[in-house]
C-alpha cells in the first residue's frame, strides 16, 4: 500500500463534529478563571525577586546607616532629593519609545505621581490599582515584552507591591500590569540610579546582580573571574537567532565559586577553543571576558521565535548583557575520571558511537558529539578490547525546546540509550565523569528546576528534600487518586502536579503514591511545604517498550511526595 493510498484512507478520519455547547461553556468558565489567575499565582520572573531582595536589603541598609544614600556591596539606589515628587519635578520632559538607555527593561524606576496600573497597554483597559507617588516599580524582563506606545502614552510592563513589604508577591497581593511611564510630554517615573562598587567583582557578585546592573557597572571592561567550571551543553533552546553563540542561551557555560554558590553564566567567543578534556571534569579556571561585546550590534532573533517580536534594541540589549569570555586559563586541571554508574559522563571526542549492546558488532544506534553529557546507567562491561558503559540522554527539561546546538546524530533532543566505549584501545579517553553543578544542599527551588530529569538522580539520589511552592488549584496532569488504567502511578507522561516556585516557572512536578495517604486536594491553592524524594523504588514498574531501562530511569527522576503541609508565603 503506497503512501498516497494511506493518506487518502486516513483522510476519512477527519471529523466535522462540533463540541457539546454545554461542555464548551463549562470549559470556557474554567479557562476564564485560569486566565484571571484564580487558579494559580501570577508569573514572577526571578529577576523581579532579585530586584526586590536587593531593594529590601538596600532599604534595610539605608535605615541602619541613617543616611539618604542606601548602599549595598555592589548596587546602590539613590532616591530622589525631592520629598514630594510630582510631574513637574521630572528633569526629562518626555521619553522615546525606544527607551533602552533611559528606562532599561530589567531595571527599577520610581513613580513621580500616583499612576494607574492597567491590564493592557491602553487607557480604556481595566484598572488594576493605583500606585502612589514615590513607589518603586520593576520594569519587567525582556521576555515580558514592551514597552509600547498607545493612546499617546508610553507603556511598560511592570511589577509592583506596596512598599515591597509583601515580596515575594502572594497570590492575593501585589500586581503586575501595564504602567504609563510617560504621556502628554511628561515622564511619570524616573529611573533609579545604579551606583557600582569600585572593587573588581568576582563571579559570585556578578551572579547576584541583575543583568542590567552588570552592564551598567562594567560596560565593556575586561574582567577576570576565577571559579569552578560547572556547565556544558544544556540542550535548552527557547529560541534561535544570530549570532547563535551570543543570542542562544543553550551555548551558555558557567563557573561557580570554588566553595559553592550561585553559578555565573557566560558564553565563549567563537575564536576561543575550549579544552573539554581539561575543564570538563570541573576544573578551577580563570576566565577573562567582558559585557557589551561588539557582536551585540548584529543580534537578531529568528523571525517567528518567541522573542522575535522584541524591539531590535531590546534584543541587542539582551546580547550586550551577556558575558563574553575571550580567554580561559586552567588553574587546576581536573584529570579525566572514568565514568561511573549514577554520574554524568562527558564525551571527549566527536562521533562517539552508541550501540545496542556492548561490543563492536552490535548495531549502532547513533553517535554523540564532543561535549555531550549523558547519564551513566550501567557498566562497565568488557567486550572486544573496550570498556563499555550504558549511556542515557538526560531527558528534556520541562517547557524547554528540543533542539541541541551540538550535531549529535540522530538525536535532536537529549534522549538516547545505548552503550559506548570509554577509551580507544590506545588509551585515549573518550568519556570522563563530569560535575553537573549540583546545589550544595537543599536550597531554593530555582537551583533545582529546569534541570534535565536525570540530573536529579546524579545530584540527589534518593535523599529527602523539602521545597516551598504554590500548589495549583487545579490538577495539572494525571488525575489524583487511584492508579489509572493499570499504569504505574509514576509513569504519568507529564508532571503529575506542578509545584510552582516562588522564584518563577517552571516549578517541579510532584508525584504521589496512591497508597501513601498524601492528600494534595486538602492543600490546593495554597503555599505548601513539600518533603519528598527522587529515585523511588516504584520506578521499577515503569518498564515500557522499546527502552524499558530508559523509562525506569525517567521514573526514578521524578519527585515523590512524602508529606505536604500548608505554609506561609516565602
Amino acid at each position: 500500500m503506497r503512501d498516497d493510498q494511506l493518506s487518502r484512507l486516513f483522510a476519512s478520519l477527519a471529523d466535522a463534529s462540533d463540541p457539546d455547547p454545554a461542555v464548551a461553556d463549562d470549559l470556557f468558565e474554567l479557562l476564564r478563571l485560569e486566565a484571571a489567575g484564580v487558579a494559580r499565582p501570577a508569573r514572577r520572573p526571578w529577576m523581579v525577586l532579585l530586584a526586590a531582595a536587593l531593594l529590601l536589603a538596600a532599604i534595610g541598609a539605608g535605615a541602619i546607616l541613617g543616611t539618604g544614600l542606601i548602599r549595598l556591596p555592589w548596587l546602590v539606589i539613590a532616591p530622589s532629593a525631592s520629598a514630594e515628587p510630582n510631574l513637574t519635578n521630572s528633569a526629562e520632559p518626555s521619553l522615546p519609545v525606544a527607551t533602552d538607555n533611559v528606562l532599561p527593561v530589567g531595571s527599577l524606576a520610581r513613580t513621580l505621581t500616583e499612576l494607574p496600573l492597567h491590564d493592557r497597554p491602553a487607557t480604556d483597559s481595566a484598572l488594576q490599582t493605583l500606585i502612589p507617588a514615590g513607589q518603586v516599580v520593576y520594569l519587567q524582563m525582556v521576555g515580558e515584552v514592551g514597552p509600547y506606545e498607545a493612546d499617546g502614552t508610553v507603556w511598560y510592563p511592570v511589577a509592583w507591591a506596596r512598599d515591597f513589604e509583601a515580596w515575594p508577591i502572594p497570590p492575593d497581593g501585589g500586581f503586575t500590569g501595564w504602567l504609563p511611564v510617560a504621556g502628554g510630554g511628561l515622564a511619570t517615573v524616573e529611573p533609579m540610579e545604579v551606583v557600582c562598587p569600585g572593587a573588581e567583582p568576582d563571579a559570585a557578585h556578578l551572579a547576584g546582580m541583575t543583568a542590567w546592573a552588570r552592564l551598567s557597572c562594567h560596560g565593556s571592561d575586561e574582567l577576570v573571574l576565577d571559579g569552578r567550571w560547572i556547565a556544558g551543553n544544556g540542550g535548552f533552546v527557547p529560541w534561535t537567532g544570530e549570532p547563535a553563540w551570543l543570542v542562544m542561551p543553550s551555548f551558555d557555560r558557567a563557573i561557580a565559586p570554588v566553595g559553592g554558590g550561585q553559578p555565573f553564566y557566560f558564553v565563549t567567543d567563537p575564536d576561543v577553543s575550549v579544552d573539554t578534556e581539561l575543564v570538563g571534569g570541573g576544573a578551577e579556571v580563570r576566565i577573562t571576558g567582558h559585557f557589551d561585546d561588539p557582536a551585540s550590534s548584529g543580534c537578531v532573533i529568528q523571525a517567528g521565535e518567541p522573542l522575535s517580536n522584541q524591539p531590535t534594541a531590546s534584543v541587542r540589549t539582551y546580547c550586550r548583557e551577556r558575558f563574553v569570555v575571550t580567554s580561559i586559563e586552567v588553574l587546576t586541571a581536573q584529570p579525566g575520571q572514568p565514568p561511573r554508574v549514577g554520574s554524568l559522563a562527558d564525551t571527549l571526542a566527536n562521533g562517539i558511537r552508541l550501540r545496542q549492546e556492548p561490543g563492536t558488532n552490535a548495531p549502532i544506534l547513533g553517535t554523540l558529539a564532543l561535549g555531550t553529557w549523558s547519564y551513566v546507567a550501567d557498566g562497565p562491561r568488557e567486550a572486544d578490547g573496550y570498556t563499555w558503559w550504558l549511556l542515557a540522554g538526560r531527558g528534556v527539561p520541562s517547557q524547554s525546546g528540543c533542539i541541541s546546538p551540538i550535531s549529535t546524530d540522530p538525536y535532536d533532543c537529549p534522549v538516547w540509550y545505548g552503550w559506548a566505549a570509554d577509551a580507544s584501545t590506545g588509551g585515549d579517553p573518550w568519556l570522563a565523569t563530569v560535575n553537573p553543578g549540583c546545589p550544595p544542599n537543599a536550597g531554593p527551588l530555582t537551583e533545582d528546576y529546569g534541570r534535565q530529569p536525570l540530573d536529579y538522580l546524579v545530584c540527589f539520589g534518593g535523599e529527602s528534600r523539602t521545597y516551598v511552592g504554590w500548589l495549583a488549584e487545579l490538577s495539572s496532569g494525571c488525575p489524583p487518586g487511584p492508579v489509572q488504567d493499570g499504569m504505574p502511578w509514576l509513569a504519568c507522561g507529564s508532571a503529575y502536579e506542578l509545584l510552582a516556585s516562588p522564584e518563577g516557572p517552571p516549578g517541579l512536578g510532584l508525584f504521589v503514591d496512591p497508597g501513601s495517604g498524601v492528600d494534595l486536594d486538602a492543600v490546593r491553592g495554597r503555599w505548601v511545604r513539600v518533603t519528598g524524594h527522587f529515585d523511588d523504588p516504584a520506578a521499577a514498574d515503569c518498564t515500557f517498550e522499546p527502552d524499558p531501562g530508559y523509562e525506569v530511569l525517567l521514573c526514578r527522576s521524578r519527585f515523590v511526595v512524602e508529606s505536604i503541609e500548608p505554609t506561609t508565603a516565602p
Binding site: 500500500m1 484512507l9 457539546d20 479557562l31 521576555g143 518567541p306 534522549v415 488504567d485 493499570g486 507522561g493
Partner: protein, 183 residues
Amino acid sequence: MAIPVTQGDQAVRLEAIVADEATFRAWYDAVLPRVYRYLLSRCGHDVALAEDLTQQTFVEAIRRRRQFDGRSDAVTWLCAIGRNKLVDHFRRAGRDQRRQLRLLDGANDPGNSWEAAEIRQSVDATLARLSAEQRLVLVFRYLDGLSVREIAAAIGRSESGTESLLVRARDAFRRAHGGDPDA
C-alpha cells in the same frame, strides 16, 4: 474589538485577548471547534476522550499563553499541545488493550456520506487492531502529514527508532486491512 498595541505578535495578542472577556470568548468560540475536531478524529471518535483532551489542551495553552512562540497560528499551536496530550494519553492507555479497543470504537459522524463513513469505520477498525503507538505514528504521518523527525520529537523517540516503528506500523496496517493492493 481592536487591541490598541502597535507592536507585537500572536503571543501579545493572545495575552491581550485573554485579558478582555468578550474578546476571549469570541476567540474561544472560533478556535474551539477546530481543536476539538482535530482531537476527535485522532482518538477514535471517542467524544468523552476528545472533550477531556480538549480541556487539557486549552488549560495548558492559557497557562502558557506568554510562551506561545508565534511560529504558527493559534490553532496550530493548540493542536501541537493537543498532540502531546494525545501522546501522553496513548502511553497511559498503552498497557490496557481493552481500553485501546474502546478508544477506536466510536460513533460515526452522521454528517458524512455513507461511503465515507464506511471507509472511516474500516480504517478505525483496522487501527483498533494495532498497538497504541503504531496507531499514533500512522495518524501523525498520514493524517497530520508530519515528517519522521517531527513524529520522533512528538513521541520522544530517535528518528531511526521512529522510522522502524513506522515501517512496522505500515506493515501491520496493511496486513490488518486485507493485504497490500500493490502486492
